[in-house]
């Protein structure tokens, strides 16, 4: 009984929860906002890169493949740390928000390009040939025939990746971005009690479990029934 009390007092201390609730909430605002921005820019850039690669010009494809490979091979934390701690020394300084946004967007773009490109490859050639033969331009073929199908095929890996990259907003705490985890860590050391960390974990669950369920529904709805 006593140990249960200790456990509750340590991780679910209501008094401390009430005191630091606003910090966690404002951190959650930043986490959600940054996740949304990263998702938008990352997916847009990834789609653009996949389109460029579909032009099948070697001088365009090679740099894209190199970019995608590098971003998939480097740990996101390393990319973030280079942006935030190394770039200022060559005269490019950026805020913690910008550095986190930029690094996560580039990572997401690489994975998105890879998934969408995989989707494009998996379409039978006849699809674009048929579209072109009806008089559609290359651009019309891509936007009205190829991409809608490719994105559908790529949807499960895409949604998984969006979720895992958004969760990486927590890495921002390493460069003192005042998102949930960072705020919770300072609150924990101020309070001398880890309840704020529990709140941070719960905040992430509250934010991301609905996103995961939403993604699952979207996948089921758009899945082709063959």
């Amino acid at each position: 009984m006593e140990s249960l009390d200790l456990f509750l007092q340590t991780f679910f201390n209501l008094e401390i929860a009430a005191r630091y609730w606003p910090d966690i909430l404002s951190g959650a605002g930043i986490t959600i906002g940054l996740s949304i921005v990263v998702t938008i820019t990352g997916l847009a850039l990834g789609l653009a890169l996949a389109l460029l690669r579909a032009l099948q010009r070697t001088w365009l494809s090679l740099p894209i493949i190199a970019f995608v490979d590098v971003m998939r091979a480097l740990p996101p934390l390393v990319i973030l740390i280079i942006f935030f701690f190394a770039f200022p020394l060559i005269g490019i300084s950026m805020s913690a928000f910008t550095a986190t946004w930029l690094s996560l967007s580039l990572v997401l773009a690489a994975y998105a390009e890879e998934s969408v490109w995989g989707g494009i490859l998996s379409l039978p050639r006849g699809q674009s040939e048929a579209a072109r033969s009806t008089g559609l331009t290359w651009w019309q073929t891509m936007t009205s025939v190829v991409l809608p199908q490719a994105v559908r095929i790529a949807l499960p890996p895409l949604t998984n990746r969006v979720i895992s990259v958004s969760k990486n907003v927590a890495l921002g705490s390493v460069v003192a971005l005042s998102e949930v985890l960072n705020n919770a860590q300072s609150a924990t050391s101020n309070a001398g009690n880890p309840t704020p960390l529990t709140m941070a974990a719960l905040a992430y669950l509250v934010i991301f479990i609905p996103v995961m369920f939403g993604a699952r529904r979207l996948e089921n709805r758009l899945q082709w029934r063959v």
Binding site: L6, F7, T10, F11, D69, V70, R72, A73, L74, P75, P76, L77, V78, I79, I81, I82, F85, A86, L89, I90, G91, E114, G118, G119, L121, S122, I153, I163, S164, K167, N168, V169, A170, L171, S173, V174, V180, L181, Q185, T188, N193, P194, L197, T198, A200, A201, Y204, L205, I207, F208, I209, V211, M212
Partner: protein, 224 residues
Amino acid sequence: MDALLNNFFNIEIFQQVFPFLLRGLTVTIGLSALVIPVGLIGGLAVALLATQSSSRTVRTLIAVYVDVFRALPPLVLLIFIYFGFPFLNIDLPKLMAVALGFLLNNAAYYGEIFRAGLQSVPQGQMEAARSTGLTRRQALVHVIVPQAVRNVLPDLLSNSIEVVKLTTLASVVALPELLRVARDAQALLYNPSPIVLAALIYLAVLWPLVRLLSRLEHKNMMVK
């Protein structure tokens, strides 16, 4: 240009820190060699429980476990374990804290992959195996699981690459893996070249795996 060379690709500093970074790389590789097999075993157990258990309660608990740990960023989990547990007077060594965090996180991810693999094996396989006189356990071990694993090999490789990248999180709790060593060197020399060198080492180790994965994935898509 000079600033770039001096700060990012300082050869002198590269030479100076290379031995230390190699030691960091050893820790990174050792950590990966610890957490990947443990995660794989945990994941397989999770998947078997999720698909084979006859108890509804067990299946529900596993589903909740998987969702919770897939929603929780691994860094949050790690910091919770590392900074939270001492408040309970549980003194967890760094490596244990990191390994525990990775196990909880990886078992959920690998579990989802194995589950997809197990579900991709047609029901008839089990029935045929049972009809030859194999017990359920034998059928699982010799017939179902090997096929399931082969079907999700690219996903297992992909997740394992992610796990190696995730070991950088251990730098946050000062475990001396590659990134941590590089950051310490950077702070000491006030020059970010060590981090650039660390990035190059990560690239050298992981790029071949990423290429291999790309090939496997595209081949799979073409076949489907």
